[in-house]
């Protein structure tokens, strides 16, 4: 089994070389943290993803946009092997994590280890029905960390990174279920951050939040970009335009276009992308 040694994001460029990019891929980022190559995914006989090759730029925000059912979330969930939970699901191709050069969907790679390194935040905040502090330390305790001082430090650090510390520092032992929707979502981000992941996947993280809570989460994601790589699925086009450095447009399980967000939102190369982002897609 390939080893996914835990503990912090290694500096880019220290591990295996990323494949050279040229030609059609000339506009791709030079140092992706992850790279999906010819990825296809099957729900039983149904091919939900078709031959997707897409980089996830290191310490940048990559957004995936597209209409409902186009495979955005399916693609996102491949990164932390969420599909493994359902029998009959099948991957083809590869998702390589750099610089370790490990195929995340390879047979020999343990999905639990993958999830330790790749955090995920869902559309609906899903805190555990325990205290705020216990929510944050869950992943660390799962890894066997018992030192109370270190756990307390981790709680403060993760909550501060998720811009929630000031709001909850006096009630860390109270139930997480008493928080507001926006706070719950930031708690989930803190929980994902606590294990010091290299990549965080966001699946529609603000679609259930009001504009103020949404703005806080967006601000947080923008700040997080400095320390962690972000892959986000969103229905909100303006959010993708505001947040992302790179944007991919998917349609019917295929990747239609991938480019810098500024290019996609001002002058996309493909008509299908143009139609979708300008609201002409019917």
């Amino acid at each position: 089994m390939n080893s996914l040694a835990s503990g912090g994001a290694p500096a880019p460029g220290t591990g295996a070389a990323v494949p050279a990019i040229a030609g059609e891929r000339a506009h791709w980022p030079a140092n992706p943290r992850a790279l999906s190559e010819h990825l296809s995914f099957y729900y039983g006989a149904n091919r939900a993803l078709k031959d997707i090759s897409l980089p996830v730029a290191d310490r940048r925000v990559t957004a995936i946009i597209g209409p409902s059912g186009c495979g955005k979330s399916t693609f996102l969930r491949c990164f932390n092997r969420m599909h493994d939970l359902q029998a009959g699901n099948r991957y083809e191709g590869s998702i390589t994590l750099y610089p370790e050069n490990i195929n995340l969907i390879g047979r020999g790679v343990d999905p639990i280890e993958v999830r330790m390194r790749i955090g995920m935040v869902f559309q609906k905040a899903n805190p555990f029905p325990t205290s705020i502090a216990e929510n944050v330390t869950y992943g660390l305790r799962l890894r066997g960390m018992k030192n109370r001082v270190r756990l307390a430090e981790a709680v403060e650090q993760a909550l501060a990174s998720a811009a929630l510390w000031d709001e909850v520092k006096d009630r860390l032992n109270e139930s997480a279920m008493a928080l507001s929707g926006g706070q719950m979502q930031r708690l989930c981000i803190a929980r994902a951050l606590a294990t010091n992941p290299e990549l965080i996947l966001f699946d529609e993280p603000t679609s259930a939040l009001d504009p103020i809570a949404t703005a806080k989460i967006e601000e947080l994601i923008t700040t997080l970009r400095e320390q962690v790589t972000v892959l986000i699925v969103t229905h909100n086009m303006q959010q993708a335009a505001r947040l992302s450095d790179y944007t991919a447009f998917m349609y019917f399980g295929e990747l239609v276009e991938y480019d810098e967000a500024a290019k996609i939102f001002t002058n996309p190369a493909k008509k299908a992308t143009e139609d979708y982002i300008t609201g002409r897609y019917g």
Partner: protein, 258 residues
């Protein structure tokens, strides 16, 4: 994306907004063009009344600029346009600035016309010199508005190229006026007026050229300001060739042209 389609949004009100906006710009362009035409006519005929009309109507051009600007602000704030829609709104914001300045140039010419209407018109023959330049400037502005209406980037380049003719003619008029002034100092005042008119017409050509550049940006997303027209032409040819060579889109994509 070498295409701009206004009327195909899912939100029909957005279609209407953009269509209105474009019509307003064309209306403003029509007014600016007619102002210029009348200012030149007033100058050539020594018609003080017509010159006065142009001066009065200048306020209408200015008002249209403000109104269209407001509408662009509203669309940006409420519709958050992207891609070709965004480029259309940005290009319109810039286009109306140029059209307002065309209005200013017409106003300048009308002022000169008004002043000269009451004078001895022995120097009036001199206005023949700018007559051709005037016709060229109006034709160029008309061409720019036409390519704007048709969203035709290829023709926009052809129209923009014609600005050079105006520049050359302006240089020739300058030399001619200097000759007049050297030969007969009594023509200095008239020659200076003539030079101001020629200068205004040359500036109209520049504004028309700018509008053509915005059309190229609006249609193809290429910012061609401060780029030589030869380079623009080359890049447009390369872009067209690359589009032609692109592989067909994946099956199932409606209207995908790659």
């Amino acid at each position: 994306m070498e295409k701009v389609e206004l009327g195909t949004h899912i939100l029909s009100r957005f279609n209407e907004d953009l269509e209105h906006l474009r019509n307003d710009v064309l209306q403003m362009g029509g007014l600016a063009e007619s102002q210029l035409q009348q200012a030149l006519q007033a100058l050539a005929e020594g018609n003080a009344g017509l010159a006065g009309d142009v001066i009065t109507n200048e306020a209408r051009v200015n008002l249209m600029e403000v109104e269209i600007d407001d509408e662009c602000n509203r669309i940006l704030a409420t519709r958050a346009p992207t891609a070709s829609d965004l480029r259309l709104v940005l290009a319109i914001i810039k286009t109306i600035t140029d059209l307002e300045r065309v209005g200013d140039e017409a106003h300048k010419i009308a002022n000169i016309g008004l002043r000269r209407a009451g004078m001895d018109r022995r120097a009036g023959d001199g206005y023949r010199v700018v007559r051709h330049l005037g016709r060229e400037a109006i034709a160029l502005l008309h061409g720019a508005l036409d390519v704007f209406a048709r969203l035709d980037a290829k023709s926009a380049l052809a129209v923009a190229k014609r600005d050079r003719v105006l520049d050359e003619e302006y240089d020739a008029i300058q030399r001619q006026c200097i000759t007049f002034m050297i030969e007969d100092p009594r023509t200095i005042r008239a020659s200076i007026d003539l030079l101001w008119v020629a200068r205004a017409l040359e500036r109209v050509g520049d504004h028309a050229k700018n509008i053509c550049e915005y059309v190229i940006y609006m249609v193809g997303g290429r910012d061609v300001r401060h780029v030589s027209l030869q380079d623009v032409e080359r890049s447009m040819q390369l872009g067209a060739a690359a589009q032609g060579a692109t592989a067909p889109p994946p099956p199932g994509l409606p209207g995908s042209t790659g």
